[in-house]
Amino acid sequence: MSKTILTIDDSASIRQMVSLTLSAAGYQVLQASDGEEGLEKATTHRIDAVLTDLNMPKMNGIEFIRQYRAHPSSAGVPIVFLTTESDDEMKQQAKQAGATGWIVKPFEQQKLLAVVKKVAGS
């Protein structure tokens, strides 16, 4: 059975890129455009991993990670966040909140695949 990855990003182009890359590699992909929508999807679907942006409107990535981790369905689900080199403070906060890993933007498709494979398996 293929694994389901939830991608949360307010940038449609990034969502599209993630979705194309992962589905080409055989993953199922769910999309959400902010933390709120992401939380709703994460808690109502069977998810194998979450990829989330940090800088988002409505509910940012840190808050998403906190709230998702507070929900029992998040147990064992890796959360990988997207960050930029300059965002060290955010990165620390995300890790504190319960993230599993991160990807530094800009990243290439192989890097994305490698990380997803790393945390969720193939």
């Binding site: 808690t43 991993a49 933007k105 969720a120």
Partner: protein, 676 residues
Amino acid sequence: MTHDPADTFRQEARDLLESLEQALLDLEQTPSDRELVDSAFRSLHTLKGSGAMFGFDEVADFVHEFETAFDRVRKGESAVTPALIAVALAAGDHVGRLIEEPGRYAAQGEPILAALQDIVGDQGSVKSTSVPAPSDDTRRARSWRIRFRLPDDALALGTNPLLLLDELRELGECDIEALTDDVPPLEEIDPRVCYLAWKVSLTTEAPREAIEDVFLFLSDGMTLEIEALEPGTSETVTADQASRVLPQDLDTDRDKSQAAGESPGKSAQPPQHREAKERQGSSSLRVPAERLDELMDRVGELVIAQARLSQMTGASDDLELKTVAEEIERLSSGLRDITMGIRMVPIGTLFGRFRRLVHDLSHELGKEVEFVASGEETELDKTVVEQLADPLVHLIRNAVDHGLEDPERRELAGKPRRGKVRLAAVHAGAEVAISIRDDGAGLDAERIRAKAESAGLISPEATLSDNELYQYIFHPGFSTASEVTSVSGRGVGMDAVKRTIEALRGSIELTSEPGSGTTVTLHLPLTLAIIDGMLVRVGEGRYSLPLLAVEECVELPESEVAEAQGRNFLNIRGSLVPFLRLRELFGASGEPDPHQKVIIVSSGEFRVGLVVDQIIGNNQTVIKPLSKLHANLGTFSGATILGDGSVALILDVAHLVNFGRGFEERLRDERMRREA
């Protein structure tokens, strides 16, 4: 729908640049608004991140510098000034160019960045740290001994040790041993905690960094030792290693495990919140516009077919058939409303660019301008909104360029230095009125007259009211400014605006008060597709008119019936309303009905009564355009197909109201002449 994320990025970038621009323009008004600064910053951040992702390196590099400079503003180290806004806007424009035509404009970014850095007092950002060179470039296999133990909460937080071991195996030959020393007695085991540690002997060509990368996400709270097993070099490697060994503290961050759930793995966890809440608003779908047009066409046909059905069943005694027909009527009218609703977009989507336009114009022309927009939420059919952009740009340019005076001249006239341009959209019956009002000098009737005379449009003897003279600026090739500025250009002028508006079945109205300004109002139909109509009969002909334009219907008073050519005014609760006898206007034959009706319709602030033989009822009017052969008949704005399959013409209310105003003006002139 596009399948290339780069295309999606281009679209997204346009949206981001637009919101950046809005934030900057808003900041100019309220420089201390933190949220605006954050919003601008977020737009830049996303532009940079996504741009770099999809190969827009010029964009990413430029935005990086832009963002760095703007970060000083965010941190409060630099103030928001008009100069900053102006440069930031230019920088935004530059980003737009970099996206649309990569490789062409990169060189033009330097001066903008220099100006930006100048303003924020930045010495230029430190270039992002270069990637460290690989520690050894010789690719030979080395052996490593690796020991690791995961943080207690690692499992709950999604780390799968088996995947880590798989990754190590991919690097090279592995010998893996699980260390069970820390596993407690069964009754003390917490299923969420990973008690195992591992010892791995690995032989690989990959550098140390590759091994560290396997544990990249686990630096906090885990034990990791990586030891090179090469004799001879071990001393130096170990020394180097000391700084690289990751923290061994097992107890830090333990509190973060509190959030973990009761069961150890996702597999044992049935999804607990299946009740899918309906999401509001946030999910949307992009659909090609042609599909919407096609949908509208189909719905139009359905509405016509349904009207036929109603007409046929109306005469039938079959109750069951009648019930079904009524059901279909309800469904089709619902479908019609929804379809039209889909096509409606708020006009505010256009307003954003006007603020920028005014901002740029005011700098270019050295005029101080306050731009106030209202009614952004007013909705219009998307086709109408799309086509309004150019006319509105032209009208706003005119208002700033020709309408408003120089600050000095305004002061001399006792007005504030700062001119005001108002853009307002409001719903009014079946139409939307969009007005552009300036508080400038007003139109110069004398100059217009001189121009019209020299162009041979009017004879020197003709007596024309100021208002009539103003209308000449809509004449092709007529430009009121004696010197043509670069802003307003030449040639394509108000006549183009007028044509566009009329092509949208709208009308344009212009009033001007010397010394206090000019107002141009565009009246536009809500939709170009289907309207609720009122069907009337004049002689043998049936006509439809937009129900929303109808204010009331009254019977034509006996006193007026006889006087066919008399004064065409009705007293409607104290105010005189001109009326038009459509029988006369249309040259209807036969005898008029004994009880003629007057339908009072309005357009803008004006009303007119339309005298008809009979009011047949309401109908759904699917608007069909008239061909070129009938395009110049002002009285009709289109045609529609009735339930019986015949064609009815749609009355152009705005045109008829204007016609009625002609009566009023004549009456006023007459009175004035009599008094004189």
